[in-house]
Every structure is written in structure tokens, then in C-alpha cells.
């Protein structure tokens, strides 16, 4: 090898820096709060010949870790096949087609060719979650869609910018098909400007180190990321590890969907076989191939955060058996649930399979739902329509080091939930409670974290409530003897009468009148290790903190408590734990 390892490290840091600056530029200039606040976006550099991931911003949303190289690969193929016009300098393609390497329609990808000396050298690409792309419900998360057309406008790769100028005709078509179109121009410009920042910085890097050196480094970094992933895989004992994860329903047909996973370590390869998973479903809980791959990659990155993000890191990972299942849906299957819910259940299956061979690294199942509650209606006081989203966290799984975190964000996201005060400023609602979901953490030597318990009232006008959540039937899985976390519960109080959605965690367009309330309790995390081995003092403390009742302490952990503040009854505890 002619390239010294130090130059390699330096160029690796340089490529990372290019992507991080793209991320920063995109977020800071964006209008959509989903991008600006929730960082629901990602930026990266991809190989010219096959779209392979060269580097990706560290602050990108985890679910995009694998989708963007798929998206770029398919774009490259289509250009080669003459389906999509070939690029010229200054062009930027726009695409949101889920079946062409995407997630759901709201995740809009831009891709810009990067030239050196007149030749295509690589692609710069980014994804941003637009607040709306049309379709039957504002925001695109229809729980009952049965075809992708109901979910919004679908764009194949087309050049939105041609030689540096935006094509106002294409943009006009987009604007005529989406809601709140007037602010999108700010996001479009921010998304394109981020790519230009990347172009300038990458040119500086290449001018400094020379094109040949950078090319050689990119190749070598890819090879070495694969070596590093293989080294981690080698820590897993040879053999197969099976797990199952369940999705409550697809929102249309009220039956659970199964993810059947067999992970096999053979030599330096880890294969993920999904044979036996459910068939494509009628409702929007389908996943597309790119998202399924990405979910496996992001789960592995949660387990091995040290591995650099590069196509090489994915090479030792083999995903099979998804053909014909709901994890590889084709047109026109609806897919709005793939990024926010199905991907998290895939990650849960990966965690559940690998916790036995990697007990120090892998946690019990996290809540694993984005907890999407949408309320759309009319506010007569302000004379306007509104759409409100409440995303919520849940408990994380217990793990070898400590108890699970409470109210953590989704496995595939990194976004913050909005404050109650901001929600009440913007929408005609009043929260009665925003609290810990008591008792929800799965029992274990290290218990799961706690979910969220909130209750919100419509104050005026009329509105319709929709839910895309999960883990309503079965709680997040406990591991190594630990108990499951509590299930997600949705109750709608209309005129004083409780209504529970038939699909438990998914429903659409439930009409609400002033005074009606929505009560949501999100899942707790799974427990880790046998609950009867948890130190009684830790159980006692949780009871003193009101996180569990004394009855739960006895039933879930075999710890008997008396008095207030509670004291451990050692003899009775010993008796309970003997049983």
C-alpha cells in the first residue's frame, strides 16, 4: 500500500468534516421544524460508479444510514439505462419515490453530481423530511391508506436544478400538490445550498491532498471499515440466533405482522435472514428494501457505534429472505409507516437476536415507536385550520450497565419532542398531564425505562385524531430473563365515554368535540436479566419514587415492602423470591 495510515486518518476526518458541514448548513437554514429542530435529514458523499457510501454526516437521522446509498445506486443505474437524463454540472436531482431507494414519500432526496477536471467524481446527496407532500392526510401519515397514491406526490428522479438554475415548471407542479407550499422554497434552497457547501469543501480537500491520494484513501477506508466490522463480528460465537418481533397491525387489517429473523455468524459474515416474515400488507406498515437494509445497518451501528459510516461497514452484513414479505414491498403498496415504525421493529428483532451472544453491548428492547398522534381541525378563535403532531418517547431497555432511560426518543431518530407550552400556544388544546408512565418499565436485574403518560383536551372547534403508534398488543421484549415493558395504550374520551381504537395503536379520523380528551400511555422498555436478582434496595427506591406500587414490587420483583416511606421486609422478600 502506498498510502500511509496517517494520511488515511487525516482524509477520513476531512471527508467527515465535509458531511458535517453539509448537515449543519441544511439544518440551520431550513424552515421545516422537522429538519431544523428534529434533524430529520442527512447529508453524505457517494461513489460515482455504484452510489456506495463514502462518508455521511454524524448528525444525520440514523434511519438514513443505509437508504441514501441505495437511492444513489438506483439513480446511477437509471442514468446508465437511459431512463433518467444524464447529469451536467450544476444539476440537482430530486426524488422521493420509496421504491427507488427511499423510505416514505415525505423523505425527499436531492443528489448533485460532483466533478473534477470535467469528469464525474462522486455524488453529493441529502435527504430532508418535508412537512407535507400531498396525499389524503396532512403530513402523509395515513393509518388507513391502501395505495401509495393516497400518501402523496411521488417523484421519480428529475432535475429540479439544471446547470445551477431551478426549473420553475417542475417546482410549480410540486407546489400545486402539497400543503403549505409557500414555505417550501426556503427548504428547497437550504437543501440545495447544503450540497453547494459540500462541493466547495470537498474541492478544497481534493486540491490539498490531490485527487489520486483522495481516491486511494476512499478505497482504502472502505476496505478498512469492512475489516473493522469483521473484527467485531468475530466476537460473536459461530451459530444462529433467532428472534421475532411483532407489529400490532397494518392499520387496515387487524392482525399482527410478524418479523421472523435468523441471524447467522459464519466466518466473518453476519447474515440476517427474514424468511417467514409476513406477506406484504394492505395498510401502510410495509417497508421497502432500502429501509429494511437501513434498519439492519442502524441497529448494528447502535451495537457497534465505533465502526465508521462507510459502505465497507455494511459489506460483511448480508440481508436475505425479504422477497415476498412486507419488508420488501413494491408499488403500489402504501409505506408511510416504514421509516417511523417498521424500521424500529426490525431493529428490535436484531437486538433481540444478538443480545445473547453480545450481552454487554445489546440492550433489552426499547419502546421503539415514534408515538405519532396527529390532531387536525379548525380553530374558530383564530379562524383557521390546524394540524398538530405530538411525537412521544418511551422507555429504553435495561442493559448490562444500568436501568433503561425513561422517555427516550425513537430508535431510528434523534429528535426532541415539543414542549407542552409550545403546543398550547400553537393549538387549541390543554394538557392535563405530562408524566411518567408509572409501572411501565419491564422488570429485570436492570429494569426498563419508563414511558410517557399524557392526556390532552380539545378546547374549542372540532378536530379529528389519528394515531400511528405500535407495541399496543405486546410490550417491548425483556431479555435474559427480564420482563417485557408495558404496552402502548390509547384511550379517547368522547363525551365522557372511553373509546379504545380497535387496532389499539393505530386509528384515523376519530372526531373530537370541545372537552373530549386523548389519553396516551407509551411503552416502557424491556427488562434485562432476572427480576428476582435486582437488589431489593433498588426496588425499594423505585417504590419510594412512586415509579412502582408496593404490589408491583412484590409481583414483578419479589420484594416485600412495608410502611411509608417503604422499608424492605427481608424475611418476606426471601420467601417471595424462593417461590
Amino acid at each position: 500500500m502506498s498510502l500511509d495510515p496517517i494520511t488515511l486518518s487525516v482524509i477520513q476526518a476531512g471527508l467527515q468534516q465535509v458531511c458535517d458541514e453539509m448537515d449543519l448548513s441544511f439544518s440551520r437554514a431550513a424552515f421545516s421544524p422537522v429538519i431544523a429542530e428534529a434533524n430529520d435529514r442527512s447529508d453524505g458523499i457517494y461513489a460515482a460508479k455504484d452510489g456506495a457510501l463514502i462518508a455521511q454526516g454524524a448528525g444525520g437521522l440514523p434511519v438514513f444510514v443505509g437508504t441514501m446509498q441505495e437511492s444513489t445506486r438506483i439513480l446511477v443505474e437509471r442514468i446508465e439505462q437511459g431512463i433518467t437524463p444524464a447529469p451536467q454540472p450544476g444539476d440537482i436531482y430530486i426524488v422521493n419515490d420509496p421504491y427507488l431507494g427511499g423510505t416514505h414519500l415525505m423523505d425527499v432526496r436531492f443528489a448533485m453530481p460532483f466533478y473534477r477536471d470535467g469528469g464525474l467524481y462522486c455524488w453529493l446527496s441529502n435527504t430532508g423530511h418535508w412537512p407535507d407532500t400531498g396525499g389524503s392526510v396532512p403530513g402523509g401519515f395515513s393509518a388507513s391508506a391502501t395505495a401509495v397514491e393516497q400518501e402523496g406526490l411521488r417523484l421519480p428522479p428529475v432535475r429540479l436544478f439544471k446547470q445551477g438554475e431551478m426549473d420553475s415548471e417542475i417546482y410549480a407542479i410540486i407546489c400545486s400538490n402539497i400543503r403549505v407550499a409557500d414555505q417550501r422554497i426556503g427548504d428547497v434552497k437550504a437543501q440545495a445550498a447544503a450540497l453547494l457547501v459540500g462541493e466547495a469543501r470537498l474541492n478544497e480537500l481534493m486540491d490539498r491532498y490531490g485527487d489520486d491520494t483522495v481516491s486511494e484513501a476512499i478505497e482504502e477506508l472502505r476496505r478498512r471499515a469492512a475489516i473493522q466490522m469483521r473484527a467485531f463480528i468475530a466476537d460473536i460465537p459461530e451459530g444462529s440466533y433467532c428472534a421475532t418481533a411483532w407489529i400490532d397491525s397494518d392499520g387496515v387489517v387487524n392482525e399482527p405482522l410478524e418479523i421472523a429473523l435468523r441471524v447467522t455468524r459464519r466466518g466473518e459474515t453476519l447474515s440476517f435472514d427474514f424468511t417467514g416474515s409476513s406477506a406484504p400488507c394492505a395498510g401502510p406498515m410495509n417497508s421497502v428494501r432500502a429501509t429494511t437494509l437501513s434498519a439492519v445497518y442502524l441497529a448494528m451501528r447502535h451495537i457497534f457505534p465505533e465502526v465508521p459510516m462507510s459502505a465497507g461497514a455494511f459489506e460483511p452484513l448480508e440481508v436475505t429472505g425479504i422477497e415476498g414479505t412486507f419488508l420488501d414491498a413494491h408499488y403500489p403498496r402504501p409505506v408511510s409507516g416504514c421509516a417511523a415504525e417498521v424500521s424500529q421493529r426490525i431493529a428490535e428483532a436484531v437486538f433481540a437476536a444478538l443480545v445473547a451472544p453480545l450481552p454487554d453491548r445489546v440492550t433489552a428492547a426499547p419502546a421503539g415507536t415514534s408515538g405519532n398522534f396527529a390532531l387536525g381541525g379548525h380553530d374558530p378563535e383564530r379562524g383557521r385550520d390546524f394540524v398538530m403532531y405530538q411525537i412521544s418517547g418511551g422507555g429504553y431497555g435495561g442493559n448490562a450497565d444500568h436501568d433503561g432511560l425513561s422517555n427516550g426518543c425513537s430508535t431510528i431518530g434523534i429528535s426532541k419532542a415539543p414542549p407542552v407550552e409550545i403546543m398550547e400556544q400553537a393549538f387549541p388544546v390543554l394538557y392535563h398531564r405530562y408524566a411518567l408512565h408509572e409501572g411501565s418499565g419491564g422488570a429485570g436485574f436492570h429494569r426498563g425505562g419508563f414511558g410517557l403518560d399524557y392526556e390532552v383536551e380539545l378546547r374549542r372547534g372540532d378536530a379529528r385524531a389519528s394515531f400511528v403508534m405500535d407495541h399496543g398488543r405486546t410490550g417491548p421484549q425483556g431479555v435474559l430473563g427480564g420482563g417485557d415493558g408495558a404496552v402502548n395504550r390509547v384511550t379517547v374520551w368522547r363525551d365522557g365515554v372511553a373509546y379504545t381504537p380497535p387496532h389499539l395503536s393505530k386509528d384515523q379520523d376519530i372526531p373530537l368535540a370541545p372537552g373530549d380528551r386523548v389519553h396516551v400511555r407509551t411503552p416502557g422498555g424491556g427488562g434485562y436479566g432476572a427480576p428476582l436478582t435486582r437488589p431489593p434496595e433498588a426496588v425499594r427506591y423505585d417504590v419510594e419514587m412512586g415509579r412502582y406500587t408496593p404490589a408491583q414490587a412484590a409481583e414483578m420483583f419479589g420484594v416485600a415492602l412495608t410502611g411509608t416511606p417503604p422499608v424492605v421486609d427481608a424475611a418476606e422478600t426471601a420467601r417471595l423470591r424462593r417461590r
Binding site: P5, F31, Q228, N407, Y434, A435
Partner: protein, 691 residues
């Protein structure tokens, strides 16, 4: 502006390891310095040790300005006063739930301990809505019962935090009035008092930080002032705040949360002061210590201030503070080779114990400091002072074994590689800080301080295309110097949140005038001589529909809406290269900082004039081989002169390679760089072309 200050001014800063002191006597120009071990259980002992060590004459001192880590450490280690919370029914878990995040993007483990445990968070019936209308009246019986319960639990401090109190504080004020009658002390913090903005988690945490450190700070300051009084001190004690201004000891505990981050802030204030005197108003400060590196931005001699500082994961403290970011590596950062055969430096650190190998405290893993030693940049003679008796050979062997063998390099090349990778990472991190604040590093000078900052500064400047490096006379006591030169300062943020086309400029002018008047009144209360009063005005703006804000500085407060629109559009284009002509702008916040500037201090005596030699040759201690990189590849040993900082002649110039050593730091001047000294004892290094 009443009263008189005469006599010497003492700045004393308590850091994690050392307590540093500077005494400047404006009448005689005399300077005294001290550096002693910090006494973290009771920081007052270290302060008194430092005063003794420096030979300060307490009865004759005019003013003592104190920077303390009491509150920062208490929060980070959760060694807090027992504090209770009374809040709106249904919302006691806000402090524990946070904003639904996790500590890292990747990795599903995470841990968080709320400032106040759940059994001490009590709820009472009351409710305001977002407009400030009372939906449920305050239940005063329940309130009193809750107060008694917390007293019975032994709480020493209390937070009253109600939803939407920023819109209408009536319930919080009434609750405080009632509870003051039964609470055993003054330690009651109302949620809206420090931060009157929406976002219940951030406001609640800010209030909880304040309450839970208030009794600690109060006791500490009382103890300190008593000790000082016993020693005969008759003057004022001022305490540094995180905004880089100071307040009197008598009042500091009321807003104790503001003292968090005061140490890093005072370093930045010293940098701004030093830079302004040296004609370098635009600085990136670079404070590299043993475990971490702090970076801040100074524009036009004014440090960047933020009111959205997060002290650690899920610990936002939303009061205006100097925006100091902790990045990258410290001298103790550990180098290792990954399973993929790549060299990585950090994020693990050897810390202070065991520390780098060369500390001789049992450290066995190669660090940045060890690499500097092997390359001749740190004085190998320093090893003799180490108790454990570590030899250069021992360090070299570990580098050869742990890094050299897997990388196919000999020990020196491995050490050079560690420095190169560390510098690349630090440069990247510094660049991200400046870019995120909308600044191009090339427009700045690098102000290097801390124990390790000057060792890496010239290389980082070269990497970042920063044209020059400024190293102050006493890099190791910069924070203490910041205490001496700091001004009185009060920052105000008023939220207007108005579309520009609906803004009545008179409203904005009224807000600015009110802020200025309040700040001036606060400054007048202090018994400190003020030279001038400065007011800095700015607005935070955004395009309608955005959530991020862009700060637009204003030359004068009496601006009209058209001017605001133009200034904002220009600032936005400069920042993002995006013009959005069709979208209207919002004015979100009006900000005013009122600064009472103290008398100018002469810094020229920080280097004792009597010690200066006449020629460079006389200032030279020795020559030794030092390793420098040449270009991007390779490098080699250079016979390099080593100078003693205090002996450098006034107005010297020299060309690298060179090393300048002083008591607490070492400056590396690379081949091709030009260094010169100025009257204040600063060294300015012009970065030459890459060798």
C-alpha cells in the same frame, strides 16, 4: 458608580486542579502571581493559600474578583442541596422526562439523574393557559400543605415552577409570598424569575439548578468573605458570572445559576481584553488543558454570548452565558490503533490519574502529551521532576509497541502521527464551532492558552488558514486575569415575536430603553468605580416559518423596520448564501447588554521588566532537536533554540523553528513562522507558508 476603588486588584480563579491568582497594583504597576492546588471540598482554603503564596497584603487590597467552580461541580457531580419542587398538577415529571432524547445518536444505553428526586416534586392544583388566563385558581391550602411536607423532608431550597408562568407569573408570585412565611430561609426560586420564556423543561431545569446550588454558593461565599475579613480585608468581593460580568458577593447567590461556567467565561474575557489592547478584536480562543479543550469566538473584542447553553446531556441552563464549547482532545487524550488499522486519538482520556505516561503516575497508554515529549516539544528534563521516575526510553517503548508496530512505524513517526491526527481533529472541531456561529476562521486570530494550547496553536492555525496566533504573557493563569479585567455586565433578553411588517418601532425602542435603564441601575448599586457604560444591542430574527434564530447586531437602538429587514437579509445571505425575497421576517428577541467598564489596567508588568534580557541569545536556555512535519508528508528533526519567556527582550522578533518555555506552558513556533513580542508581553506568531 458610587464609592472608590483604590489599591491592588486581585483576580483569583478556582479551577478543577489549580487555583490561580493575579494581583495588579495600578498605582505601582507591580504584579504578583500564584498557582496553588485547588481545595475542592472548601475552595476558600485554596483561595487563602493563593493569597498567602502571592504575598498579598489583605488590608491594603482594593478589590478581589473571584471565579469559582463551586456551582458547576455541584451540578455535574449532583452534590446538591436538598431541594423541593412545587409545580402545576399533572406536571411534576417534566424535570425527569426531558425532551425525549438520548445522550448519543448511536448506542441505546443512556442514563439521566434529575436534579430533584421524584418524591420531592409535589403538585398543587392551579393552571394558566398559554395566554396567561387563569383556568384553575391556585389552591392555597394544598400549597401550604406541600410546603410543610417539603420542610418535613428536610429540603433546604425550593423551586416554584408553574406552567405558562412566563405569560402570567401571578400564581408563582402568590405562591412565593405564601411560602416565604413558612420556609425556614430565603432559598426560594420562582421558575419565571431567571428565565421568562416558554419551554417548561428548560425553564424548570434552569430554576432547579439555581435552587439546588444556591445554599451551597451562599455558604461558600459567606465563609470566604469571613475568612478574608478575618485577614483584614475591607474591600468588596465580586464573583464572576458565566456571562463574563461580575456581581457582588452579597447578591451572587440570588441568581446562583448564572455562576455556572464562570471559569471558562473569565478566560474568554481575558482574551477579549488582551486582544483589544493588541489590536486583535477578532479571536478564536483555544484553551487546551489536560482532559478537554474549550473554544469560543470573539468578534470586535466582544465574546459571543448564548442563552441556550447545555451544561451536559439534558441539562440546559438558559441564561445568557459566554458561548464556550468543549471540543476534541486534551493533553491526556489516549491514542490507539483500531482493529481496522487506523490511528485514533481520543475520545478516551487518561485524565489526571493515571494521566499520561510522562506524569509517572502509572499511566501506561500513549497520550498527546507523551507524543509531544518524544518529539522534543516538551522538555525531557521535566521527566526528572516526576516521582515515579519515568524514562524517555519507557515512553518510546510504549509508542513503538502500541502504535508503531501495528502501523509499521518507528516510535518517533508514531508520535508525529498522533500529533497530526489530533491536530486534524481539533482543527475540524474548531472549524465546526466557528462555522456554526457563522464565522470563517480565516478572519480571526487564534488566542492560545491553557497548559497545552500554545503547543498546538501554530499547527492548528496553519491547518485552518488562520493567519496569526496570539499567546498572552501568562497563558496558564488566563482565567484569573479575566477576573481582574472583567467588567460589570447585565444581559437582557425580551421576547417580542412579532412579524416585522406589524412591528411598531416605538415598541422596540421602549424595550431597549427599559433594558438599558435596568442594567444601569443594577450597575449603580455596586460599590465599584466605573469608567464608562457601554450598551450592546442586537435582535434575534428569522424568516416566518423558521425555528432557528439569527442574531443581528445593531449599531444603535433606534432602528426602523426597513433597516431591520435589510440588516437581517444581509446577515442571512452572508451566512447561508440564500436570498429569500418573498418571505417576511420575524423579530423574535430584543437583546441588550449593559456593560460598566472598569478602569483600564496596564498588563505590561505581567512579564517582569527586570527579568527581560537585552538580546535573544541571552534569553536562550539551550538548543535541542525538535521534530517538525514538513508539508503533508514526512518530517524531520531540527536543531531548535529554546527560550525562556521571561527573558525575551522587549520587542523581539524571531523566525521558527523555536520553542518558548515558561513556568506553566510551552509555545511551539514552527519553521517559517515569525514571532514577535509586544508591550503587554504577548507573543504574536505570523503563520508562514507550510514548510
Amino acid at each position: 458608580m458610587t464609592g472608590e476603588t483604590s489599591g491592588a486588584v486581585v483576580g483569583v480563579d478556582v479551577g478543577g486542579t489549580f487555583t490561580d491568582l493575579v494581583e495588579l497594583d495600578p498605582s505601582t504597576g507591580r504584579v504578583r502571581l500564584a498557582k496553588v492546588a485547588s481545595t475542592l471540598d472548601n475552595q476558600a482554603h485554596g483561595v487563602l493559600d493563593a493569597l498567602r503564596e502571592a504575598g498579598c497584603d489583605l488590608p491594603k487590597l482594593g478589590l478581589i474578583v473571584h471565579g469559582t467552580t463551586t456551582t458547576t461541580n455541584a451540578v455535574l457531580e449532583r452534590k446538591l442541596s436538598k431541594t423541593g419542587l412545587i409545580t402545576t398538577q399533572g406536571f411534576r415529571d417534566v424535570l425527569e422526562l426531558g425532551r425525549r432524547t438520548r445522550p448519543q445518536a448511536y448506542g441505546m444505553k443512556g442514563d439521566f439523574t434529575p436534579l430533584i428526586p421524584r418524591n420531592l416534586r409535589l403538585e398543587v392544583p392551579e393552571r394558566m393557559d398559554a395566554s396567561g388566563a387563569a383556568l384553575i385558581p391556585l389552591d392555597e391550602d394544598a400549597l401550604i400543605a406541600a410546603g410543610h411536607q417539603l420542610i418535613a423532608e428536610g429540603c433546604e431550597s425550593l423551586v416554584i415552577h408553574f406552567l405558562h408562568a412566563y405569560a402570567n407569573p401571578a400564581h408563582e408570585q402568590r405562591a412565593a409570598e405564601i411560602l416565604r412565611a413558612i420556609w425556614p430561609n430565603d432559598h426560594i426560586t420562582m421558575g419565571h424569575a431567571l428565565l421568562s420564556e416558554s419551554r417548561e423543561f428548560e425553564r424548570g431545569v434552569t430554576a432547579a439548578v439555581n435552587a439546588s446550588v444556591q445554599p451551597l454558593l451562599d455558604r461558600y461565599i459567606r465563609r470566604l468573605t469571613e475568612h478574608l475579613a478575618k485577614g483584614g480585608y475591607q474591600g468588596e468581593v465580586l464573583v464572576m458570572n458565566g456571562n463574563g460580568g461580575m456581581v457582588s458577593a452579597a447578591r451572587v447567590a440570588q441568581e446562583a445559576a448564572k455562576t455556572v461556567m464562570s471559569g471558562p467565561a473569565s478566560g474568554v474575557m481575558a482574551a477579549a481584553y488582551t486582544g483589544r489592547r493588541a489590536g486583535q478584536g477578532n479571536l478564536i480562543t483555544y484553551d487546551m488543558g489536560g482532559t478537554s479543550t474549550d473554544v469560543a469566538l470573539i468578534r470586535g473584542a466582544e465574546p459571543t454570548v448564548s442563552n441556550e447553553i447545555e451544561l451536559e446531556y439534558a441539562m440546559p441552563i438558559h441564561v445568557p452565558m459566554v458561548d464556550v464549547r468543549t471540543v476534541g482532545a486534551g493533553g491526556g487524550s489516549i491514542a490507539r490503533v483500531t482493529p481496522a488499522g487506523l490511528l485514533e486519538v481520543g475520545p478516551q482520556s487518561a485524565g489526571a490519574t493515571p494521566g499520561p505516561i510522562c506524569y509517572g503516575r502509572g499511566g501506561e497508554r500513549p497520550t498527546i502529551s507523551d507524543a509531544n515529549l518524544l518529539l522534543g516539544r516538551l522538555d525531557p528534563a521535566g521527566l526528572n521532576a516526576v516521582e515515579g521516575g519515568v524514562s524517555l526510553e519507557h515512553v518510546r517503548d510504549i509508542f513503538a509497541r502500541d502504535l508503531g508496530a501495528p502501523l509499521g512505524l518507528e516510535a518517533t513517526a508514531a508520535a508525529a502521527a498522533v500529533i497530526r491526527v489530533a491536530n486534524t481533529k481539533m482543527a475540524g472541531a474548531i472549524r465546526m464551532v466557528s462555522v456554526s456561529l457563522g464565522a470563517d476562521p480565516r478572519d480571526f486570530a487564534l488566542f492560545a492558552f491553557g497548559g497545552a494550547g500554545p503547543l498546538h496553536a501554530t499547527a492548528l492555525a496553519r491547518e485552518l488558514s488562520i493567519p496569526r496566533v496570539l499567546v498572552p504573557a501568562r497563558p496558564g493563569i488566563t482565567n484569573a486575569l479575566g477576573c481582574v479585567v472583567a467588567d460589570l455586565r447585565h444581559d437582557f433578553v425580551t421576547t417580542l415575536n412579532t412579524p416585522l411588517h406589524r412591528l411598531d418601532p416605538a415598541d422596540l425602542h421602549r424595550v431597549f430603553a427599559g433594558q438599558a435603564t435596568e442594567g444601569e441601575a443594577l450597575i449603580a448599586r455596586e460599590n465599584i468605580e466605573i469608567r464608562t457604560i457601554r450598551r450592546l444591542y442586537s435582535v434575534d430574527m428569522q424568516f416566518q416559518g423558521q425555528t432557528h434564530l439569527l442574531r443581528v447586531p445593531l449599531d444603535r437602538p433606534d432602528v426602523d423596520a426597513d433597516t431591520l429587514q435589510q440588516l437581517f437579509e444581509a446577515a442571512y445571505f452572508k451566512r447561508f448564501h440564500v436570498a429569500l425575497d418573498d418571505i417576511r421576517a420575524n423579530l423574535v428577541n430584543a437583546n441588550c447588554s449593559v456593560i460598566g467598564a472598569r478602569a483600564e489596567l496596564d498588563l505590561s508588568a505581567l512579564i517582569d521588566p527586570a527579568q527581560r534580557k537585552q538580546t535573544l541569545d541571552e534569553a536562550m536556555l539551550t538548543r535541542r532537536p525538535v521534530w517538525f512535519a514538513e508539508g503533508d508528508a514526512g518530517g524531520g528533526w531540527h536543531d531548535t533554540p529554546v527560550y525562556w519567556r521571561d527573558h525575551l527582550p522587549e520587542g523581539f522578533t524571531l523566525t521558527g523553528p523555536a520553542i518558548v518555555q515558561q513556568m506553566d506552558t510551552t509555545l511551539l513556533i514552527e519553521p517559517g513562522d515569525h514571532a514577535s513580542g509586544d508591550a503587554d508581553g504577548n507573543i504574536i506568531v505570523q503563520i508562514g507558508a507550510a514548510a
